[in-house]
């Protein structure tokens, strides 16, 4: 409750029109950012705890698997510490809507050869695109990533989640014989 209240109080402060419209003094704008960031960080403790209960079964094999579930608030400038620096990482997408959705997930990466798998050991087709020079050259964007990895997260269940395992290929000829082929894309009418 204490963690949640930090964000509740921040949201209370953000009800003021200055917090939304840009009619505040610059130093106040910085302070709003600070308050909101602290609220989000505080709540992330609850989110990690909840997701760890949802995603792991209490068996001997999974007891040791506790995930960090980091957010990447700077994805809008193609920055994410985990996806850029890890040789393998997991992306978990939680769908807050009451109907199934699909989404093209787009994350910055350093390499140009990856394998994306879902929870059924099915390899997901992906695409690597370079980050536009105009973004790469932003002075304040400190990053070594030069590409973005794109794949389709299909059929994310209502009020549920799906996770994807992403690993960087070290050898272009590496073939995983256990991997199944991606099934035909289902018709995705809403």
């Amino acid at each position: 409750e204490d963690h949640l209240t930090v964000l509740r109080e921040a949201m209370g402060v953000m009800q003021h029109h200055d917090a939304i419209t840009g009619t505040e003094k610059q130093k106040v704008a910085f302070d709003y950012s600070r308050i909101l960031h602290q609220g989000m960080e505080s709540c992330s403790v609850n989110v990690k705890s909840a997701l760890n209960q949802l995603t792991t079964r209490d068996t001997d094999a999974t007891k040791k698997l506790k995930f960090s579930f980091n957010s990447c608030p700077r994805l809008n400038i193609s920055l994410c510490d985990v996806s850029e620096s890890s040789e393998q990482f997991i992306i978990t997408a939680y769908n807050p809507l009451a109907h199934s959705v699909f989404e093209y997930i787009r994350v910055p990466v350093q390499g140009d050869s990856y394998v994306v798998k879902d929870y059924r050991n099915v390899e997901i087709q992906h695409q690597i695109v370079s980050i536009p020079d105009t973004v790469k050259n932003l002075d304040f964007r400190k990053s070594n990533s030069s590409n973005e990895l794109i794949f389709l997260a299909s059929e994310l269940p209502p009020l549920g989640y799906k996770s994807f395992f992403v690993s960087r290929k070290t050898n272009y000829n590496e073939i995983d014989n256990n991997t199944q082929e991606q099934p035909e894309m289902p018709q995705m009418d809403h």
């Binding site: 939304i20 419209t21 840009g22 009619t23 003094k25 610059q26 704008a29 989110v47 094999a61 040791k64 698997l65 995930f67 960090s68 579930f69 980091n70 957010s71 990447c72 994805l75 809008n76 400038i77 985990v82 996806s83 890890s86 393998q88 990482f89 997991i90 992306i91 978990t92 939680y94 807050p96 809507l97 959705v101 699909f102 989404e103 093209y104 997930i105 994350v107 798998k117 929870y119 059924r120 050991n121 087709q125 992906h126 695409q127 690597i128 695109v129 536009p132 105009t134 973004v135 932003l138 002075d139 304040f140 794109i150 389709l152 997260a153 994310l156 395992f165 690993s167 995705m188 809403h190």
Partner: protein
């Protein structure tokens, strides 16, 4: 030197030799559709006079001049199995990526503006303006506080006779998440990722304000010019998205309005993405 197109099974988007958006083909109909970035010069007024205040944080008051950012866009085309995109660079501080995803029935515009240069001592308010062939007769629709779409009529107020002194600002309305125009047959809407100001100043056009940097206070209380420094002191850089939906009004379910609504849901209540480092265990354990 040649025109370029990107697309999927729903849409084909064409760009002219100048690098600008030229047309969109969908449902067997080709819509002439162009898009430009322009800027209005912020008015510099005398704040002692109520009707002659400067453009500032509280009020948008252009001095009735508009300038196009660039007459030509340098473009780069990226194609792949999931997304096709055209990257436009207009100058050193305005660029955009236009995307069509394989399974999506909309066009994504990811714009990046800033830091807006002000060495010429001119405050600038930047807009993204689209021109289409839709005959909307001065009527357009904006949402209000995200609750409902309200009908707006250019140079008109529903409850009194109005004669606008400021033809641009007087026709701007808040756009919380959507602005749209339509005629008997077709509808064209833009969805935003944040609240912005918008209007339809000409028949067939929609414009949204994407960034502004002003050098004078408007004397409504903040006592500062809207001149955000950004990280490096050269002005704030803004990056955001618009999603464009265009098509026939009379289509079998889902209708174009229903498509807009689903898209709004997905964009405004997006999936939460979480990232976990997995270097300490293998895929088998995780599976």
């Amino acid at each position: 030197q040649t025109s370029v197109s990107i697309g999927n099974k729903y849409l084909n988007v064409t760009f002219g030799e100048d690098g600008f958006l030229d047309s969109v083909t969908t449902e067997g109909v080709t819509h002439k559709l162009t898009q430009y970035f322009l800027w209005y010069e912020g008015a510099v007024g005398n704040n002692r006079e109520f009707l002659n205040r400067s453009s500032g944080a509280y009020i948008f008051r252009p001095n009735n001049t508009e300038q196009i950012i660039s007459n030509k866009a340098e473009i780069q085309v990226v194609r792949g199995p999931h997304v096709e995109e055209v990257r436009q660079v207009f100058n050193s501080w305005v660029s955009q990526v236009i995307r069509v995803y394989r399974e999506e029935n909309f066009i994504e515009f990811e714009w990046m503006i800033g830091g807006i240069p002000v060495a010429d001592k001119i405050g600038k308010e930047l807009i993204s303006r689209f021109y289409s062939g839709i005959k909307n007769n001065g009527t357009f629709y904006t949402d209000s506080n995200g609750r409902e779409m309200l009908r707006r009529v250019r140079n008109h107020r529903d409850t009194w006779n109005v004669r606008l002194e400021e033809k641009i600002a007087g026709n701007y309305y808040p756009v919380t998440s959507k602005i749209a125009i339509e005629d008997d047959q077709h509808r064209f809407s833009l969805l935003t990722d944040r609240a912005q100001g918008g209007s339809s100043l000409f028949d067939g056009s929609i414009e949204l304000m994407v960034h502004r940097r002003l050098l004078h206070d408007d004397a409504f209380g903040v006592a500062e010019a809207l001149n955000e420094p950004g990280v490096d002191g050269n002005g704030l850089v803004a990056r955001g998205k618009h999603w464009l939906v265009i098509g026939k009004k009379s289509t079998p379910s889902p209708t174009i309005k229903a498509r807009e609504r689903f898209l709004q849901n997905q964009k405004l209540l997006p999936n939460w993405l979480f990232f976990s480092d997995a270097t300490s265990f293998n895929y088998g354990d995780w599976m």
